[in-house]
């Protein structure tokens, strides 16, 4: 069953008098609980694609559906609420909050977005930290963790709200080869455990091998 439906989407950036066509007439669909990657060279439109699916940006043309919602019609506030309730994000530079411990970073979406009570959220945080193998590091701050460990915490933070879809833009770009493969395998294991759809971008061939569905982008077009 399709979770993400992209219909004839284009995204054009206007920089002064110059038009940059980041995506051109892309149509695709992504199934629930799939493990999908977008690949392609720099500037091919991978990040733009993830931004559109992640409700961080709006298409210049076309429609984006996630589940039954047409998200490209949402206003700022609706997009923020939708991201908080349905999506999870993993970033290339981990983007953990420096002033929060690993536990608090994972807890953040439950406190600040879901407003869950302490008793309810404690179990969820511990469970997801255990799943990513970071339970014993839960009281450490980000600057006390290695790159691979940080990304594991980021994966836990993305999963703790049990989103339907997790988006990861180049999640392994800042990791060594071994850590990169470990993180991708962890994401796949999480997909298996939580039945969450994972969409990520990469240009690392080693990481591509781990994906189940590969979409290749070139000059803003699916090839």
């Amino acid at each position: 069953m399709s979770l993400v439906q992209i219909d004839n989407v284009s995204r054009i950036y206007q920089t002064g008098e110059v038009q940059v066509k980041a995506l051109q007439d892309v149509t695709l669909s992504i199934d629930e609980a799939s493990f999908v990657t977008f690949v392609g060279p720099s500037g091919s439109g991978k990040t733009t694609m993830l931004n559109l699916i992640g409700c961080l940006d709006k298409p210049t043309k076309g429609k984006v559906f996630i589940g039954k919602e047409q998200v490209d019609t949402f206003d700022r506030r609706q997009r923020a609420a939708f991201r908080g309730s349905t999506l999870g994000f993993i970033f290339q530079a981990f983007n953990l909050f420096q002033v929060l411990t690993a536990y608090e970073n994972v807890e953040y979406p439950l406190v600040m977005i879901k407003n869950e009570s302490i008793s309810k959220r404690n179990g969820k945080v511990l469970k997801v930290l255990e799943s990513v193998g970071m339970l014993d590091q839960k009281d450490k701050f980000p600057d006390q963790l290695s790159g691979g460990q940080k990304q594991r915490v980021a994966v836990a933070r993305a999963l703790v709200t049990q989103p339907k879809l997790v988006l990861a833009d180049e999640p392994t770009a800042n990791l060594d080869k071994k850590s990169a493969v470990n993180v991708i395998r962890l994401m796949r294991a999480m997909r298996d455990e939580f039945k969450t759809t994972f969409i990520f971008s990469t240009h690392d061939p080693g990481v591509m091998e781990e994906a189940e569905v590969i979409h290749t982008l070139e000059d803003g077009k699916l090839v």
Partner: protein, 417 residues
């Protein structure tokens, strides 16, 4: 909410040196305001106490129109015996009035038998005067340096120090007073100089003193008449309320033309020191404005830097679904926490500073009075008010950066380098 403040405090601690410097600057501003308010307020209260307790009293009641022509000491604006009884009844009925004392103000010619000059005199009943002006004797110098049990007896006069110096009069000397009564006839009486009085601010501060019965004889008043009633209230803080009560009570007395018979004034309308007091208040307000500027500029600067340095972090917050209002709340909490830390530190150091000033006892001289002790104090309400200003300004200064943070598009913020 607790979590928001926890994150805010940790973010402040993330840039320890910057937070410390900003907090120190705000603390210093607050400390200046607390110490200045304490010292200036204490000086003002001390001076007001000196003026009201040694000369003016808290309020004065006259026949309507007297104060506007006070420089000529008019004798036609007298309060007769019936009027005095009426006023006594009003004053006795008011529970906030502690004491009152009748007075006659007059101008006379003072002669030491070789030279003559003008003198303005305050004729008092010493028994009641001491109740409305308990420090009146502190301005006076008596023979032998001792303050007598009864300030002034009939036949005695206390003359202003500059006049005594000019006429080379000393205590124990005999002088003659010659005065016109309200009908224009002249009368003269002999007096013994019982004391010399120093001047104090204002026209009424340069008057000599004589017994009220002597003034009634000198002015050939058939029936005892007076010019003014000086009164003291129980709680000085209630001055405006008591004044309003008495003013409305006196407004009921009207002459045949339907106009008010009496007028009442607080010390503020009678002493030029009120201008100095207003100046002190103005300086205190200026200090507060400087403090507000310090708080506004430093917190605005810190928070703008904080937002600029954390654009990617803001992008992350926004991307994972944090509502714009909560992002704004996080930054507001940070500004408020910075203000709160500074307020707490400023108040503690300020109160300690006032305590130290009280230990080291600041003394100053005022006229004949030396070693007047300045006791700086600051009320809880003043502290609360100043603290509230800092906190409100802290939030106000954070509004713009916080709003900017909340309006950032996550896709732009995440791409910020």
């Amino acid at each position: 909410m607790i979590r928001i403040f926890k994150i805010a405090l940790r973010n402040l601690m993330r840039y320890k040196r910057r937070t410390l410097l900003t907090s120190m600057l705000i603390t210093l501003g607050l400390l200046m305001v607390i110490l200045f308010s304490g010292l200036a307020g204490s000086f003002k209260e001390m001076m007001i106490g000196q003026i009201t307790d040694s000369n003016l009293a808290h309020m004065q009641i006259h026949k309507k129109g007297y104060v506007s022509s006070i420089d000529t000491s008019p004798l036609n604006l007298i309060i007769n015996q019936k009027g005095y009884k009426t006023l006594e009844k009003v004053l006795k009925e008011n529970p906030d009035v502690e004491a009152y004392s009748p007075r006659i103000k007059l101008s006379a010619m003072l002669s030491n038998y070789t030279e003559t000059t003008n003198v303005r005199l305050n004729a008092i009943d010493p028994k009641t005067e001491i109740k409305v002006c308990p420090n009146v004797s502190e301005r006076m110098k008596f023979s032998g340096g001792q303050i007598p049990d009864i300030l002034l007896k009939p036949g005695e006069i206390i003359i202003p120090e500059k006049l005594a110096a000019g006429l080379k009069i000393k205590t124990g000397d005999s002088v003659v007073l010659v005065a016109n009564n309200k009908d224009g006839s002249v009368n003269g009486l002999n007096f013994t100089v019982a004391g010399i009085i120093e001047s104090i601010l204002g026209p009424q501060g340069k008057e000599g003193y004589m017994h009220i019965k002597d003034a009634q004889s000198l002015l050939r008043m058939g029936k005892p008449e007076i010019i003014e009633i000086a009164l003291r209230i129980k709680e000085f803080d209630k001055l405006d309320d008591v004044y309003a009560d008495l003013e409305s009570a006196l407004a009921k007395f009207k002459n045949e033309k339907g106009k008010a018979v009496f007028e009442i004034h607080t010390w503020e309308k009678l002493s030029p020191f009120v201008n100095i007091a207003n100046m002190i208040d103005l300086m205190t307000i200026s200090m507060k404005l400087i403090m507000i500027a310090i708080v506004l500029i430093s917190i605005l600067n810190v928070m703008m830097m904080s937002v600029y340095e954390r654009i990617r972090e803001i992008g992350t917050m926004s991307a994972i679904g944090t509502a714009p209002g909560k992002i704004m709340g996080l930054f507001l909490a940070e500004g408020l926490s910075l203000g709160f830390i500074s307020v707490l530190t400023g108040n503690i150091i300020g109160i300690f500073g006032i305590y130290i000033l009280n230990i080291y006892k600041i003394r100053y001289a005022f006229g004949r009075q030396e070693n007047i002790l300045l006791s700086p104090t600051i009320s809880f309400s003043e502290l609360a008010w100043v603290s509230a200003i800092v906190l409100v300004i802290s939030v106000f200064a954070t509004l713009q950066p916080a709003y900017k943070a909340s309006r950032m598009e996550p896709v732009d913020a995440l791409g910020h380098v």
